[in-house]
């Protein structure tokens, strides 16, 4: 997944000339040695994307796979997103893992509203994305009927790798967007 350090570079100091810096951060500085210059937006986004605090709104089977993602084999913490928060006020990524029913919909909406800006939403699995094969009287046909969604993950349930990919895509999205302040 391109996450582990390149073994050839292991032990190379962080500011060594051979090491690539995050996009938009410049080594040459008129101020002096060891000082880097960048745009504020880029620096904020860079920090933000590597310290996502997800709120797993786990309702069903997908939540079990989410447990797999945070456990040691797949290890979400490699992406800086292991600080799982169950309080919407503390988190910035709403990960809706599982089926949302009409009975649940007002709660999901309220949790989304309680989250502070900036915030992102991932619909994990087909139930959250579209209702999946629960096309019936009690299942909401996709959470995008009640809240906006940034990324949809296919699968029933998705494999843990797919969740990691979603996180990387969200990171890209955070990087691209102007940082809301």
């Amino acid at each position: 997944m391109g996450v582990s350090e390149d073994p050839a570079r292991r032990g190379v100091p962080a500011d060594s000339p051979g090491r690539p810096l995050p996009r938009g951060i410049h080594r040459e500085s008129p101020v002096g040695e060891g000082v880097y210059l960048t745009k504020l937006d880029l620096a904020i986004n860079w920090a933000r994307k590597n310290s996502i605090w997800p709120l797993p709104f786990g309702t069903a089977c997908c939540a079990i796979e989410f447990m797999g993602v945070v456990s040691s084999v797949f290890d979400l913490s490699r992406f800086g997103a292991e600080v799982v928060r169950f309080s919407p006020r503390q988190s910035d990524l709403l990960l809706v893992a599982g089926t949302v029913t009409y009975k649940q919909a007002p709660i999901l909406r309220r949790i989304y509203e309680q989250m502070c800006e900036p915030k992102w939403v991932v619909a994990m699995g087909v139930c959250a994305s579209s209702g999946g094969f629960y096309d019936n009287y009690c299942t909401l046909q996709g959470i995008d009927k009640v809240i906006p969604v940034d990324f949809y993950i296919a699968g029933c349930p998705p494999r843990p790798e797919a969740i990691l990919q979603a996180l990387l895509e969200i990171q890209k999205k955070i990087e691209r967007n102007p940082a809301p302040r």
Binding site: F57, G58, T59, A60, C61, A63, I64, E65, M67, G68, S71, S72, V73, F86, G98, T99, T101, Y102, K103, Q104, A105, P106, I107, I111, C127, F133, Y134, D135, N136, Y137, C138, T139, L140, Q141, C156, P157, R159
Partner: protein, 577 residues
């Protein structure tokens, strides 16, 4: 037809003379169902009959296994609904179904809440889904659907696609008020109350469960559970799909042990069809069932320990679960939602490396379990938090419909694998662990011991695995091999018929129970002879267990609610269906 015989052999002919003597005029007739005899009763006599059947020493039907309604509108003229009571005498090993016809326009029946404690929730569900009113029920309100729902979705004329929005979450004030009136001197005391919502989005709620608790300090005075947040219409969906197409839906009932659901559902349909699967299929089913049981218990105990603050164990146990996932994935192609069984057999035979992989993973089980037990078994914090907490005795547990590890934790050794062996379980050497006092500690420890026993069963099943086909040879049940489909007219016709018209069980009903990880997982299936189930009711073990939560937590500390809830292993997919 051998399965049907095998199922029938379990049933000893029940002597109905005492029941006749007591309520002769109210008995409308007898019927039969695969799995148990059926007595039809007039609705006015239902309470008396149930009380008599429970208390009479020659019957002792001490458990209401399930209560449901069949909408017979398309099956017959006359009264539209049949209220079905599935009774079970654990002591005598007998089952009996009581059916009581109820007309549509005057749709009521007496409540059984005074006789069986789990009648409270099962009757609420029947009211919610079918609109049958249970007279004198203390709290007859919707349970699975939301409060603004109009109509009764499991009636045959309710359109499956007709969703209904909810504008506002139920505050549960009405239920709390009724509880206060019914039980004016709670165990928590009388000082100022604090109302607290645990859930439905709560880290320790294990899915979308909601409990409204009224606290005095940290002591729970009243607890009102609200369920249905994951009610995703399993039963209605099953009615619109072919028998084999229902299997993926069963995966998602108890999603911690999907394979057991596959097996339990297939067994029920096979019993309805009167077919018996091959020996090799049975052994494979035993292996996957027991592997799933191990996985289920691992998740349950791991999550329960996390709730108690013992996070390290989660890594030990979940790593093992990942190893088993790998085996399951190589077998079925999926980690979680397996859909591995088919009516009459399996999707495919086991892979050549399966045995080796299973044996390798079994070697890792004692280490993970042993490491965890070393950390908790004599750990003072763990013992203080679990011993003597959430205690329930066997008699009350049975009245609530407890089965599986939660019932065995009370010291009552009851396991369908021993009492009504199926799939050759009687040929394996294993023990049924049981607890002493039915507290949280016992429930955790029973699960750990069951993991060990399941390992023993899997090893024996691998040793004794017979060769031969995994599917029955029956052109209307199992697809012919591809070669036959392409090269012979019989094969082509068999393929066409099965794809176009599906499996068609004969007209009838079956209730078949399987010992799942949580307890008795039963499927009550009604067939009208068509390719789709006319009705498919699940008897989820944790629905009944969860209805006892107020009884277990009231009077205790609020922190213990979390510990008790975790030890009951409530899986929302199965609870709400």
């Amino acid at each position: 037809m051998e399965t049907r015989r095998a199922v029938d052999q379990e049933i000893r002919e029940i002597d109905l003379a005492p029941l006749h003597a007591r309520l002769g005029a109210a008995i409308l007739g007898r019927e039969s169902m695969v799995g148990m005899p059926v007595v039809r009763l007039a609705r006015g006599a239902i309470t008396e009959a149930l009380r008599f059947l429970r208390d009479e020493p020659s019957y002792r039907f001490d458990m209401l296994t399930d209560l449901t309604v069949v909408d017979c509108g398309e099956l017959r003229d006359g009264d539209r609904f049949d209220v079905v009571y599935l009774l079970h005498s654990l002591e005598r090993g007998e089952r009996l179904a009581i059916k009581s016809p109820v007309p549509e326009e005057d749709c009521w029946i007496e409540t059984a809440t005074g006789i069986y404690k789990n009648a409270d929730w099962t009757e609420r569900e029947a009211y919610d889904q079918y609109g049958v009113v249970f007279r004198d029920h203390p709290n007859l309100k919707r349970i699975l659907n939301h409060k603004e729902f109009v109509g009764h979705p499991l009636r045959r004329d309710y359109d499956i696609y007709k969703g209904q929005w909810l504008s506002e979450v139920d505050d549960l004030e009405d239920e709390l008020e009724r509880r206060r009136r019914r039980d004016p001197t709670p165990r928590g005391g009388q000082a100022d109350a604090m109302i607290l919502n645990l859930g439905p989005s709560h880290p320790a709620a294990h899915g979308t469960l909601r409990n409204l608790v009224e606290l005095e300090g940290e002591t729970v005075r009243y607890c009102i559970p609200e369920i249905g947040y994951l009610h995703r219409g399993f039963e209605k969906s099953a009615e619109t799909h072919e028998y084999n197409q229902v299997i993926p839906y069963t995966d998602r009932l108890n999603y911690c042990s999907c394979l057991i659901n596959n097996v339990a559902y297939s067994r029920a349909v096979e019993a309805l069809c009167g077919i018996e699967v091959t020996d090799r299929c049975k052994f494979i089913r035993v292996i996957i069932t027991e592997l799933s049981r191990i996985m289920d218990h691992l998740v349950c105990n791991a999550a329960n320990l996390v709730d108690l603050g013992a996070l390290t164990n989660y890594w030990y146990l979940f790593n093992l679960r990942e190893r088993i996932y790998n085996v399951i994935e190589s077998l079925t192609g999926a980690r979680l939602t397996t859909s591995y069984t088919r009516i009459g057999g399996l999707w495919a035979d086991i892979t050549p490396d399966f045995e080796e992989a299973v044996r390798a993973v079994l070697k890792e089980v004692p280490k993970a379990v042993g490491d965890t037990l070393k950390l908790i078994a004599r750990n003072k914090i763990f013992i203080d938090r679990t011993v003597g907490i959430g205690v329930i005795d066997a008699e009350e547990a049975i009245s609530f419909g407890f089965t599986g590890p939660c019932l065995r934790a009370t010291g009552y050794e009851y396991d369908l694998r021993k009492r009504h062996p199926y799939d050759h379980y009687d040929s394996f050497d294993f023990e049924i662990p049981s607890g002493h006092q039915g507290d949280t500690y016992d429930r955790v420890m029973v699960r750990f011991e069951e993991i060990r026993q399941s390992c023993r069963i899997v090893e024996q099943a691998l040793d004794k695995m017979p060769s031969g086909p995994v599917n029955v040879e029956h052109p209307r049940i199992i697809l012919p091999p591809k070669k036959q489909t392409y090269e012979s007219i019989e094969g082509l016709v068999g393929h066409f018929k099965l794809i176009m018209h599906g499996v068609n069980p004969p007209v009838g009903e079956a209730y078949v129970a399987t010992e799942a990880a949580n307890g008795e997982l039963g499927f009550f299936i009604v067939s009208d002879g068509g390719m789709k189930p006319y009705k498919c009711k699940v008897r989820p073990p944790c629905f009944h267990i969860y209805s006892a939560l107020p009884r277990l937590v009231e009077g205790g500390m609020v922190a213990d609610v979390v510990a008790i809830l975790g030890s009951l292993n409530i899986i929302a997919g199965e609870l709400d269906r």
